[in-house]
């Protein structure tokens, strides 16, 4: 790409901002109208997409910006799910508060897992998170008194301020949280933390020379992504109303990673697109058990080798030519 192309791109970006705002507004309006248009199953799929989008937004900060690999985000998802369920059903906290507490608790656990590994190469974080993901699934399974172990937990519908949340209510809650999540991620990406993560990904030594403590910021990114995953887990638990340790395996963690990568690492649009992709493909390939895995795995490799910008990058390139 040439210098002239850079400058015209900057000018066009300024102009297209108006267009994207309108598009965004339309998307949001469409999202708000969805329950009136879709049937129960369609609404479920859309809510599930929102849940995974929330995971993806957080994971994108860790992998897309800070360049770190986590193989235990399914575990954080699970901790959030179980924590929210237990706090709501056994302790009696209001649903929203349970989600928040579950999120903060998981963020702390994330920080504890990450701190030993953060001064080292990203490989060590991947290994530590792989170990943690396996162990956490075991803990959920064994701690029968708290989690009912392999029997799973059946959940009654949640309530906010006394009003029971049906499918529509849960959908709007998810939409609200995803919107908040996007806004927060957008702010961080435009703020000093987002920029710090980018230089950390490029070179931790350069980051240090700029006064940015790399290890600390990697832990921060990790904790934020764990928080997002846990909140998503709290929504997920009450969407499916039955959670089981088998749900939260290392395979799901790799699936989360494939969401952000295939969608487009380092972009918010990529997180949303990746989540949608992740929900839709198994629906399309229903019946053939291993087909979705094959598709995701292949795409993961293909994206890394051929199109690092992911699906979102493809969409943007097409949009630019339009």
């Amino acid at each position: 790409m040439s210098v002239a192309a850079d400058i015209t791109r900057a000018q066009r970006q300024a102009a297209s901002f108006g267009v994207s705002s309108v598009l965004l507004g339309l998307c949001f309006a469409a999202a708000c109208a969805a329950p009136f248009v879709l049937n129960g199953y369609g609404l479920y799929v859309l809510t599930l997409t929102g849940v995974f989008a929330l995971v993806a937004l957080g994971l994108n900060l860790l992998t897309g910006y800070a360049g770190q690999i986590s193989l235990c985000h399914a575990a954080f998802f699970g901790v959030g799910a179980y924590a929210t369920a237990i706090l709501t059903q056994k302790v009696g906290l209001p649903y929203l508060l349970s989600i928040l507490v579950g999120g903060l608790l998981t963020a702390c656990i994330g920080a504890v897992v990450a701190v030993p590994a953060m001064r080292l190469k990203s490989l060590y974080l991947a290994i530590a998170t792989l170990g943690f993901g396996v162990v956490l699934q075991k803990i959920i399974f064994e701690w029968r008194s708290l989690t009912n172990g392999g029997g799973g937990l059946a959940l009654s519908p949640p309530a906010i301020a006394g009003y029971e949340l049906g499918a529509t209510g849960l959908y709007y809650l998810t939409l609200a949280l995803v919107t908040l999540g996007i806004w927060g991620a957008w702010n961080v990406s435009r703020g000093r933390t987002g920029r710090a993560l980018l230089i950390i990904k490029e070179s931790e030594i350069a980051a240090g020379a700029l006064g940015i403590p790399a290890a600390r910021y990697k832990v921060i990114a990790f904790a934020i992504s764990a928080f997002y995953a846990a909140v998503a887990g709290g929504l997920f638990a009450y969407l499916v109303r039955y959670i089981h340790p088998e749900n939260f395996s290392v395979g799901l963690s790799i699936a989360f990673l494939s969401m952000v990568v295939i969608g487009g690492l380092g972009t918010i649009g990529g997180s949303i697109v990746g989540a949608a992709f992740y929900v839709i493909v198994p629906e399309l390939l229903r019946g053939i058990k291993d087909a979705p895995g094959l598709v995701f795995g292949l795409l993961l490799v293909i994206v890394m080798v051929l199109m690092p910008q992911g699906l979102w990058g493809l969409v943007r390139r097409l949009g630019r030519r339009a």
């Binding site: 790409m1 040439s2 210098v3 850079d6 400058i7 900057a10 806004w183 927060g184 702010n187 961080v188 703020g191 000093r192 933390t193 920029r195 710090a196 980018l198 230089i199 490029e202 070179s203 030594i205 350069a206 980051a207 240090g208 020379a209 700029l210 006064g211 940015i212 403590p213 790399a214 921060i220």
Partner: protein
Amino acid sequence: MARLSVENVSVDFGGIHALRDVSFELESGAIVGLIGPNGAGKSTLLNCVSGITRPTRGQVRLDDAVLSALPPATVAGCGIGRVFQHPELVVDLPVRENLLIACHRSLGYGLVSELLKLPNVWAAERAAARRVDHVLERLGLSDSAELAIRNLPYGHRKLVDLGRALLMEIRFLLLDEPIAGLNDAEVAKLRDLLLRLRQELGLGILVVEHNMPFVSGLCDRLVVLDLGRLIANGPPVDVLRDPKVMASYLGEDA
């Protein structure tokens, strides 16, 4: 006036003695050149000052504070800027964004403020943007502000790297082979820029370089390392005539 002191610094890597008992000082407003043949330990010394390498013995001090036990990010926060041999910039971002990264410490807002984009964040970002514009002007890069790094010629990338250090409100600047890869015009520009920075900001500058005309024209003093030892420390005119220095560069039978 601040003073950066390297005091009896020795660095051992396993069996290799990269630095042996090196001592010298850098005051604000002084430009000191660090020269010596390859493998002399110049980059290791810079790394000790930056906090990347911890001295096996000895210490680095900024006035009374001991720097050598501190992590690199803290050392940078004390006002020690570093420009590396190969600029490590975020290639997909434009020049302006890369420079904004350097404003990290001065922006100072907390994570919660950042997540919620509170008013103090808006104000801090605007102030940082103004400082970045100022540095862009000083370096003559204002026209390139929106260009992505990948489209920037090498000489300009090195300037951006320098710009990052300047944005950190530094008192001392460490430069590792700043003119490698630059043409004559760019070298002259850099030399003038460094002299102006010394004059206007009172920076103390430590330059590692191989190019003798450049260092003798720029520096007040030269420090010479050979095989980890400091063998000369004085004005360029004296140092370059020192027989020990000539022997280290040309070999013993000179």
